[in-house]
């Protein structure tokens, strides 16, 4: 379904969606982030890239898995804490972040299903906004199989056409969301469709960063596994971890028990985002660490994204959002690292 929505009608559409929780990019201080929006009419779809991708809505940074209670060692009560089924819509998702959510879905639903993720995902409708201008100077989605107007992972894709939005449904859920306020939408004229195509093609040309021969790099990575390349590239890393926290597909987590009261015992089992760049991520209880240095940890980050995941799922675990480049305090630049892999000679 392809429709036109006048910008003046956008907030009326949102008002019609009052049975959903609505998330959208919200500015707080200097940064934008996806938040639950109380007054949907305040949503403005005009923002640079958010600091944290929308993965945080479906896979929160901290979430309780279960609660426990016990008055003696012989008696324990467990309570599963599972996300409530509240239908939600996330507005203003960039195409890179949407394809990131599609990749997370493969990871969390494949094999043993992760109910915490899938319960949220199953009731969340994803509405994207094409990037007419790249939201970050570090965007490189077109190098990793994406595009600024890709529909991968989305239910609806919106494109800003000046005074109006071009609204395309991708899935049945998306179609229903449009139909629920169909009176607000118009059919697009032929010339508008042409205009849309032009905007999309132009947007692709505005992306400044590019990785050459990504497939070759993918298959070359194992060849340079055991080289000093990684020592050199990781030298400046200060282990802050922002590269993976801000990544739309990084999904590593830790599980820990938080005790609220020791007697009677009361507490929660909590999962939190974790980070492969931290030394204790892989450290055994004995002190032995299979990835003991910065070199092996940067190598893991790059290998996982561009080789291991490709081997397991036939796609890259990177969407080209550029956040890890913009945010790294010491300038470790994934596009540059990959270019150096490409030209590296042992």
């Amino acid at each position: 379904m392809q429709m036109i929505l006048s910008k003046m009608n956008f907030s009326s559409w949102l008002k019609k969606l009052n049975s959903y929780r609505i998330f959208a990019p919200v500015k707080s201080g200097e940064v934008w982030s996806y938040e639950l929006v109380e007054k949907p009419e305040n949503i403005i779809l005009d923002y640079p890239n958010t600091i944290i991708p929308p993965k945080k809505v479906l896979f929160p940074q901290r979430e309780v898995l279960l609660e426990f209670e016990s008055s003696s060692e012989q008696e324990i009560k467990l309570k599963e804490v599972i996300p409530e089924e509240t239908p939600s819509v996330i507005f203003g998702i960039r195409s890179c972040d949407a394809s990131g959510l599609a990749k997370l879905e493969k990871i969390f639903k494949g094999g043993f299903e992760d109910l915490y993720f899938s319960k949220r995902k199953n009731q969340t409708i994803l509405v994207g906004l094409a990037c007419n201008i790249p939201p970050s100077p570090d965007c490189f989605c077109t190098s990793v199989g994406g595009s600024p107007y890709s529909k991968d992972g989305l239910d609806i894709l919106m494109t800003d056409m000046g005074d109006e939005y071009y609204v395309e449904s991708v899935t049945e859920e998306g179609e229903k969301l449009i139909e629920s306020a169909i009176g607000l939408f118009n059919d697009p004229e032929e010339n508008v469709k042409k205009e849309l195509e032009k905007i999309h093609l132009e947007s692709e040309k505005k992306i400044k960063r590019y990785i050459k021969d990504i497939d070759k790099i993918s298959s070359k990575l194992p060849e340079i596994f055991e080289t000093e390349f990684w020592d050199k590239e990781s030298l400046s890393c200060i282990l802050c971890g922002i590269c993976t926290y801000s990544c739309p597909v990084c999904h590593c987590f830790d599980i820990n028990d938080e005790v609220i009261c020791t007697f009677p015992l009361k507490g929660k089992r909590v999962r939190t985002w974790d980070n492969c760049q931290f030394p204790d991520f892989t450290m055994h209880s004995s002190g032995h660490n299979p990835r003991p240095d910065k070199a092996s940890r940067l190598r893991q980050r790059i290998m996982h994204k561009f080789n291991y995941f490709n081997e397991n799922c036939m796609e890259l675990l990177c969407t080209g959002c550029g956040r890890c480049i913009s945010k790294c305090p010491v300038g470790i630049d994934i596009v540059e690292v990959l270019e150096k892999v490409r030209v590296y000679e042992k």
């Binding site: 109910l115 999904h251 028990d257 974790d274 209880s285 893991q300 291991y308 397991n312």
Partner: protein
């Protein structure tokens, strides 16, 4: 739909002190509080919970043929395993699983099986040893080569004496001890000394990484091909189900694709274990 993160409650029915001191090992038998289906394969593990402390992945050391309890032998190490060591019979823990691939023992029928263990590494082997002894007619000769630093560090001491009546067992300790009549030296040296034959045989080895490395070398020297040698790999684990991202070696998640590997496969993976 099953929520994989929620453990089932189980009661500790017995605790046996195997080794005391710095590197204490205890063997726990548990029974589920409610009736639960926990069918597993030899070599699979379970995530044990001490509520308030956390979870640890532990190999099931009893045989899948035993239905009335699960057995775990646990080395006291950090937070969770220390808490387990402080528990008493009657106390309740959480168990989820079973996880991992397990040993392909169905493919080993009609073969000679050689088990080579070091220290706590006998725990995952114990499950197959018990199974193979019970179904002795399905396999040919069974041989166990097992050692630890001192005779005090050997696990299942009494059970091993009993088992000697049913199969060949060669024990070892690293250094001379007054009353020790068996082999003195490292486990790989004992393997070279006993020279098991590779014909129609599978060798399974578990133990500390250095031991495994030299056992594999010894087996290769004795003519064992890489696909006749099996071992288990250990890495830090949290989820146990291939999601939390920390236990991988290359594209393999040990919790899911492992922990059991033939050396033919393991040698092709990065050495990140």
């Amino acid at each position: 739909m099953k929520n994989e993160y929620i453990p089932k409650l189980a009661r500790i029915v017995s605790i046996k002190e195997e080794v005391d001191g710095q590197r204490a090992i205890k063997t726990f038998r548990t029974q589920f509080v409610n009736k639960e289906d926990f069918s597993f394969k030899c070599g699979q593990s379970a995530m044990l919970s001490v509520l308030g402390k956390g979870e640890s992945m532990i190999s099931v050391s009893s045989s899948p043929l035993i239905n009335d309890y699960l057995q775990f032998s646990i080395l006291k190490s950090g937070r969770v395993t220390t808490a387990l060591h402080e528990m008493e019979p009657g106390d309740v823990i959480g168990i989820r699983g079973p996880y991992g691939n397990g040993f392909p023992i169905e493919d080993w029928k009609g073969k000679n099986l050689i088990f080579i263990g070091g220290g706590i590494g006998l725990a995952p082997l114990w499950s197959i040893v018990q199974t193979a002894i019970t179904k002795k007619e399905e396999y040919k000769d069974l041989l166990l080569i097992y050692g630890s630093r001192t005779s005090k560090d050997l696990v299942y001491k009494e059970e091993l004496e009993e088992l000697k009546k049913k199969m060949t067992i060669h024990l070892s300790v690293d250094n001379k001890e007054p009353d020790w009549k068996e082999f003195v030296g490292f486990v790989p040296n004992n393997v070279m000394d006993k020279k098991p034959l590779p014909e129609n045989a599978i060798a399974v080895t578990c133990g500390p990484p250095v031991m495994i490395k030299f056992v594999i070398k010894a087996l290769n020297d004795l003519g064992f091909k890489d696909d006749q040698i099996y071992t288990t790999v250990e890495n830090k684990m949290k989820c146990g189900i291939g999601k939390c991202g920390r236990c991988n070696i290359g594209s393999h998640y040990i919790c899911k694709n492992g922990p059991v590997y033939s050396w033919a496969v393991l040698k092709t993976l990065p050495q990140e274990y």
